[in-house]
Amino acid sequence: MAKFEKANSVGEWLDQRLNTTGLNKVLMTEYWIPKDINFLWAMGVLLATTFGILLISGIFLMMYYKPDINLAFDSVNYTIMQEVAYGWLFRHMHGVAASVVFLIIYIHMFTGIYYGSYKQGREMIWISGMLLFMTFSAAGFSGYMLPWGQMSYWAAMVITNLFGGVPVIGDALVVWIRGDFNVADATLTRFFMLHVFLLPITIMGIIGVHFYTLRIPHVNNQTSEEFDFDEEAEKYLAGNKKESKVIPFWPVFISKDLAVLGVFLIFYFYLVFFHYNFAMDPVNFDPADNMVTPAHIYPEWYFLWSYEVLRGFFFDIAGFSAFDIGLIAFAFANGIFLVLPWLDRDPKILPAHKRPLFFIWFWVLMADLIVLTVYGKLPPTGTNAWVGFFAATAFIVIFLVLPIITKIDAKRRGDA
């Protein structure tokens, strides 16, 4: 046992047992972040805050929500929304946060792509981040089922149906996932378990990993410059704060995060109180009815680009059924981002505006994703179907082309 002497304060007492001063240095006051950053670097803290809002509002919702197909709808839309003190506020906060978190995830993701923050040494940050995107998507999907409205039921129907496309075991797999031949009470309760326990705890674990993966490669900066963090840290600690290229996480980096957070919260709470239909679709205020399909079914906005890739292929090609092509393209679309670090064949880390072809590639990708998103919402008839087909094909081509164009950029720069 280590030697312990009488402590003179609570702080010192804790420090003797837990090395709190050491921990504080490592995590906060001597955790070095580049100084050359912009407000996009605050998206991480925004995500942590939004996740916190989801957790806490979720805890309050759980106290009154009933995961039973006969009770769920009224427990949300009567008990929580109209009886529980501030129940309506927790529900609105939870629904709007679940939607806005994906806006921030996409901004965070595309910032990473733009500045090359997935390359050379930072692959694990990127992969843990993409795993977070996938677990958040699963959490969003399972959460949407819980109010048991028409959209809850039919989205569950369509998405669980997709697994029927798996060869050989498809039909049995669908029944196993649902726990019944149809989307039913068994389906609701198991997705409730996933949504309130298994997924949040998995997410928290992966967030821990995501934070850890940042430590060794360090956070990226606006010019993607690589410099000696230890050297710059020395400058800062010696008092040369203006010359140093780094800042400490606490209090300097976090002060910018909190300022950006303040603006974000104004925007977020404006939506919570005054503009929430985009997140709480009116169709879901009809109780689920397994015998009536709503005239228009669509997933939440953040799934639309991927949904459009799924249904963009509406005719058979070369002996493959449209359904199978769509399913494969859907799997491709959801997995391809994971291998982005290896598709990019440029050996240097640079922001997109220093990589001519990659710059064009990036904005073409943005445009394609917006087209896919909008057309994923529109009824897929007539010209809409064709636009969807070309946008979905373009998505696949965009990624197949990446290794080639990144190599060209490198060669032209003389870095091949």
């Binding site: 369509v158 726990g179 019944d180 149809n182 399909t293 228009h296 249904r311 509406f314 059924s321 008839t381």
Partner: protein, 166 residues
Amino acid sequence: MSNKTNRRDFLGYSFAAVAAVGGAASLVGMKQAWDPLPSVLAGGFTKVELGELKAGNPVTVTWRGKPIFLLKKTAEMGENKRDLIIGSDRFTVAIGLCTHLGCIPAWKKDKWKCACHGGEFNASGKQTFGPPPRPLDLPPFTVNGTSITLGEEGPEYKKIAAAMMA
């Protein structure tokens, strides 16, 4: 020296194998906890009387939570190898879920049209337009006189299922 190493490795690997077997068995048990309950599997039988159906107007009943379309065909609706023939009447018996992504198509005069992505099925349940990859699925059933019981695979069902595969 090498003998000692081998024995240690062998014991280590055997222990790991024993642990793995226990883990696998637990996973199998957990998988089974997600299977449909016996009450769900048993409750899947519904009897429907076909004799009262008006020709040309389909009726929808529920079986295992799914809509089932039952249509007594008129002469204009033609013949199809999936027709259930009882006496001189031809019936279309189909699971009322679009084979594309599972929405329920609506009957519009002489065909089923799916609002989700425009798919269409004719009175015989065959896909005639849009993304559905195959005709409306056939539910298992047995025939008793002019009524059928959904849920059991009777000889008429097996015959039609085979004809549909061909």
